[in-house]
């Protein structure tokens, strides 16, 4: 038996496996396939202050070992989210890592405040701050590409939430220096980091000779991006080890389909792992990956999951 428990800042989790935001809806759908309370945490779809319709269709294009999506943050808005989705997760006994988004730093703060004030806040083990969305005040440049804008969002969200609720800034790999953004978020009060979000891409429909997605650009995800996730985690972990900024836990995400894939992210420095696109292929993927990871660690003779976090550094 491998001890799979892990502590991410103030969050004590029985295991390191999670869903990825936007790849698991808000719990009910996957509960037809497995008990969502069995996950380390259930990460919800990024929610904004008001209901949002998202983009038109086509919203997806299959690409080699991955896909492009342009959902456009469709969601019910924070009030309906806490009343219906969060209440359901609470009744199911799940630990919720709630992903929030905004088109201004003030909107992030408002969403965090509404979450804190909700009756079901007890189910929340942490908040993931999806800063990979466009900042209306800066001509739609995503917050995560700008260290100052990222830091402002993190600081405002931090103010709204009790100290024992960790916040994780979710970083975009589409930047020149991801460690610089990570440093800005940690200095602004992030308890941890989630990386990576999708990479920007375009697919062309060569029959119609036009972009395949209605929204033209989309986010690339799936096994195709796993090496990018491993690289990003590696670089940020190394920067922490070098003392460039305070060491905080990293939640790894990007291209995980098997327990071996998860171990790659962990060995590069992740303390927990999310499974996203692979869930579309196999609804049980997050739980299956947990079982595979545990079996792999057992076979390799480890007693505890925490022994392998960042193990590939300095070997």
């Amino acid at each position: 038996m491998v001890d799979m428990s892990v502590t991410l800042a103030e969050a004590h989790l029985p295991n390191p496996l999670m869903t990825a935001s936007g790849c698991a809806a808000n719990g009910k759908e996957l509960s037809r396939f497995f008990d969502v309370a069995g996950l380390g945490a259930f990460v919800t779809k990024s929610v904004m202050s008001a209901p949002r319709s998202g983009r038109g269709t086509p919203r997806m294009a299959e690409t080699p070992s991955g896909m492009l999506n342009s959902i456009g943050l469709q969601g019910p808005g924070i009030d309906a989210f806490v009343e219906e989705d969060l209440a359901w997760l609470k009744s199911a006994g799940a630990r919720a890592l709630v992903s929030i988004a905004g088109s201004s730093s003030g909107e992030f703060a408002d969403v965090a405040a509404a979450l804190r004030n909700s009756d079901s806040f007890g189910a929340v083990v942490g908040v993931e701050v999806n800063i990979s969305c466009p900042n209306v005040a800066n001509r739609g440049l995503v917050f995560a590409c700008d260290p100052l804008a990222s830091a402002k969002v993190v600081a405002l969200v931090r103010e709204q939430l009790p100290r024992d609720i960790p916040i994780f800034a979710k970083l975009s790999p589409d930047v020149t220096d991801i460690s610089g953004i990570a440093a800005a978020c940690v200095k602004a009060g992030a308890s941890g980091l989630t990386m990576i979000n999708t990479l920007l891409g375009i697919a062309i429909d060569t029959d119609r000779m036009r972009p395949q997605l209605g929204g033209i650009t989309g986010g690339l995800s799936g096994p195709a991006i796993r090496p990018v996730a491993v690289r990003a985690i590696w670089q940020v972990r190394a920067a922490m080890d070098q003392g460039r900024f305070r060491a905080v836990p990293i939640i790894g995400v990007g291209g995980v389909r098997t327990g071996r894939d998860a171990l790659e992210l962990v060995a590069a420095g992740a303390s927990a792992v999310q499974v996203g696109t692979a869930t579309f292929n196999d609804p049980t993927a997050p739980m299956r990956v947990l079982g595979e990871l545990e079996a792999l660690l057992e076979a390799k003779g480890y007693a505890a999951f925490t022994e392998v976090i960042g193990i590939a550094h300095g070997q």
């Binding site: 269709t57 080699p64 070992s65 469709q74 579309f280 292929n281 196999d282």
Partner: protein, 296 residues
């Protein structure tokens, strides 16, 4: 494989036990224990393609043609598909006794009328696949059932012979006149509705056809129930790729997931005005729609 009791859905390793060419299409029979017992006409299954290391991750969704809950091999599910892309080609090239991961049944089935009213079932191409099974259920309830099958050409019609057994009357149309009446299903539909006094028109096929079925049915005073074919990545409601604008009971339009709230919708609830040229836009009056561009 599936662990949750009473979930109404199961995930199983399906086994291909029969395959047959039908014109331009492939008719497959899979042993998929659990799926057949739960399925209703109009529901679909989502298949994973290419095995566990496949580079094609997205599920392929197919309407269920028919089920046999207690075959010699256990419950079977039959599908009709065209080899259109790499995923469906992989499925059609599966060897006999080859395995494919099946999730189903998924989506909402066709609603059945409480009274024994006359119904017209309209299918375009292999879209007709679920209609024969639906016809059986309707006739069991005492409904008079007529079918209208349309396609570009005779080899793209599915089930014209089957229809003669499943329905009380059959009308066939082809664009090129190679079988039946030359023209579209919408050309012959008004006469069939009037002659039978149909209260419900069920439709399955391409979006453009579903739109015209809805228009004809509404004009003739019948209710249209249409099963849409939207691109789906997961089939189980978690990806939000399959949305389309549909008017709810409160009269407001929302972008709803066709895999969970559909694939069957009342035709007059679908915002057909939002579809054009392979795109679907978010109607300006939809809940949560972005403010109209052009500034304020």
């Amino acid at each position: 494989m599936s662990a949750i009791p009473n979930a109404g859905v199961t995930q199983v390793a399906g086994e291909l036990i029969a395959t047959r060419r039908v014109g331009a299409y492939h008719h497959l029979t899979l042993v998929a224990p659990g799926v057949a017992e739960l399925a209703r006409p109009g529901q679909f299954v989502a298949l994973a393609v290419g095995g566990s290391t496949s580079a094609n991750l997205l599920r392929r969704c197919f309407s269920i043609h028919r089920v046999s809950p207690s075959g010699t091999y256990g419950g079977t599910v039959e599908l009709v598909l065209a080899a259109a892309g790499p995923g469906s080609t992989w499925i059609t090239e599966l060897p006999l006794h080859g395995q494919v991961d099946v999730v189903g049944p998924l989506g909402r089935p066709f609603p059945l009328p409480n009274e024994p009213v006359a119904c017209v079932l309209v299918g375009g191409g292999y879209g007709s696949a679920p209609l024969f099974w639906l016809a059986e259920h309707l006739r069991e309830r005492g409904c008079h059932v007529e079918m209208v099958l349309g396609a570009a050409s005779e080899d793209r019609l599915f089930g014209a012979a089957l229809a003669r057994r499943s329905a009380d009357g059959v009308t066939v149309t082809t664009d090129d006149g190679s079988a039946g009446t030359q023209g579209w299903v919408s050309d012959v539909l008004p006469e069939v509705i009037r002659r039978t006094g149909a209260a419900v028109v069920y439709g399955c096929g391409p979006m453009g056809m579903l739109r015209s079925i809805t228009e004809v049915a509404t004009r003739e005073g019948a209710v249209a129930q249409v099963a849409v074919e939207e691109a789906m990545a997961c089939g189980i409601g978690v990806c939000m790729t399959c949305v389309m604008p549909v008017v709810g009971n409160d009269g407001r339009t929302r972008m709803v997931r066709s895999c969970v709230e559909g694939p069957v919708f009342r035709g007059d609830r679908v915002r057909w005005d939002a579809f054009a040229d392979g795109y679907c836009v978010v109607p300006e009056d939809a809940v949560g729609a972005p403010p109209a561009s052009g500034g304020h």
